[in-house]
Symmetry: C2
Subunit: 252 residues, 2 copies
């Protein structure tokens, strides 16, 4: 049995709490948030606190607060026996107070408050300063059915950047398609199966191998036609730049 204290009450903290509660091998001892009203719904399930000095022993403290607040919050931890991890993609493991046993438990996934999370689809990037602590984080990930990968701070920061490309930027391409179609009264639903298939394809094939389309074929006629039909200058610039990028990747 792994005992855990959670700090923070945002998306990550809340989804982790729910997953830990479901696991037979994890017990959540205490849940801290500076604003206790955010966790009061759970007060019958777990000891909720807003006074950090009331934190008691646990195998792992999980700091799931905003990136900017991680370092400072770690400095207010007085109990030095437990492993203290944060859940951020971009904060260094060394930003945690150096008197602590330190680590990182970063879920590489996008969370929102409303949708429920299936942790078998959430890979964790784990890192510890003391090698022996790694085992504890592996067990924690396993106990909620998640994959884990040993990832250094530098690698994690690169993954965080990669995630911006495959999540935020990809989503913005969906948004642009939505805008373009709306102008012509086209139902965005028509594009949804293609969006899914595009993501599905690279689950078992490299993006390099999966590429198709006018840029890949260097089909100048279609590219010209597309550029002409795009009215928004920013959309035009994105079309040009990504077309160049595809051509470069594939030596066209």
């Amino acid at each position: 049995m792994i005992s855990v204290n959670i700090l923070g009450a945002g998306n990550v903290a809340t989804h982790l709490f729910k997953a830990f509660q479901k696991s037979e091998n994890i017990s959540v001892n205490q849940w801290y948030n500076r604003d206790i009203s955010k966790i009061s719904t759970y007060k019958n399930e777990v000891s909720t606190i807003d006074n950090i000095s009331l934190l008691e022993e646990a195998d792992i403290y999980i700091i799931a607060v905003s990136d900017d607040a991680i370092s400072k919050l770690s400095q207010s931890l007085t109990n030095k026996n437990q492993l203290v991890v944060h859940t951020s993609g971009s904060v260094s493991v060394y930003d945690l107070d150096k008197t602590l046993r330190r680590g990182v438990f970063y879920p590489l996934q996008t969370f929102s408050k409303t949708a429920s999370v299936d942790f078998s689809n959430v890979p964790f990037c784990i890192e510890t300063i003391d090698k022996q602590d790694l085992e504890l984080l592996k067990n924690l990930a396993n106990a909620i059915g998640s994959q884990w990968y040993k990832i250094s701070t530098e690698q994690r920061q690169t993954l965080h950047l990669s995630a911006v490309f495959v999540n935020n930027f990809t989503n913005q391409l969906y948004r642009i398609a939505h805008e373009i179609s709306d102008i012509q009264n086209i139902n965005f639903d028509i594009l949804k199966p293609l969006i899914l298939e595009t993501a599905n394809k690279v689950q078992h094939m490299s993006p390099y191998m999966a590429q198709t389309g006018p840029a890949m074929r260097n089909d100048k006629k279609t590219i010209k036609k597309h550029l002409k039909s795009l009215e928004n200058e920013q959309h035009k610039a994105i079309y040009k730049l990504l077309t160049e990028s595809i051509k470069k990747t594939h030596g066209r």
Copy 2:
């Protein structure tokens, strides 16, 4: 029962043939290709021909050849009773020979020769010059379990452009993430669940609502850090442009 003749032997023609063969409500009478060796594997299942003048009656002729070849091939059709459709996203319905009953049966999906296709995930954009012919294409789509949408040539060309954004360009963003991660010896598998979830999210939420990340929050510190860590100038330019695009969409 709908009878069909197929012209062409590429990805689309081959997947359509297989789907039609499985359907109880469709019979494929003849399959034409200029190079008959491409369809010889199927000669026991269907009448295969390479002489276009041998084409006989059928309810629908489906021209699934390269965009540039559609118009010319349609001119060589002498049998004027059947509905003749092409399967292209960008070719106008008027590019088919004007002596014919004309239409479009465009599958908005990405096909590759190897992977099998589940046609319940392939929406068809249908269009006919004669309103009465629409029913036939609806029935054809229904018979292989596909959704259909009545779409004009102008709308279809916009959808084709939108497909470049959500398919080709999105795939290139995956590719860039792959490149960035490779440099740091990071297993690309770690990013795959996020890629899928990003596509899943917009199945029931608008891309506008689904957006998160540093550009959305206008988190200047992270954006600066990311730009600094990108070594490839083209990747940097893409990062900047898509960040600007997100900021503009969300009024940041």
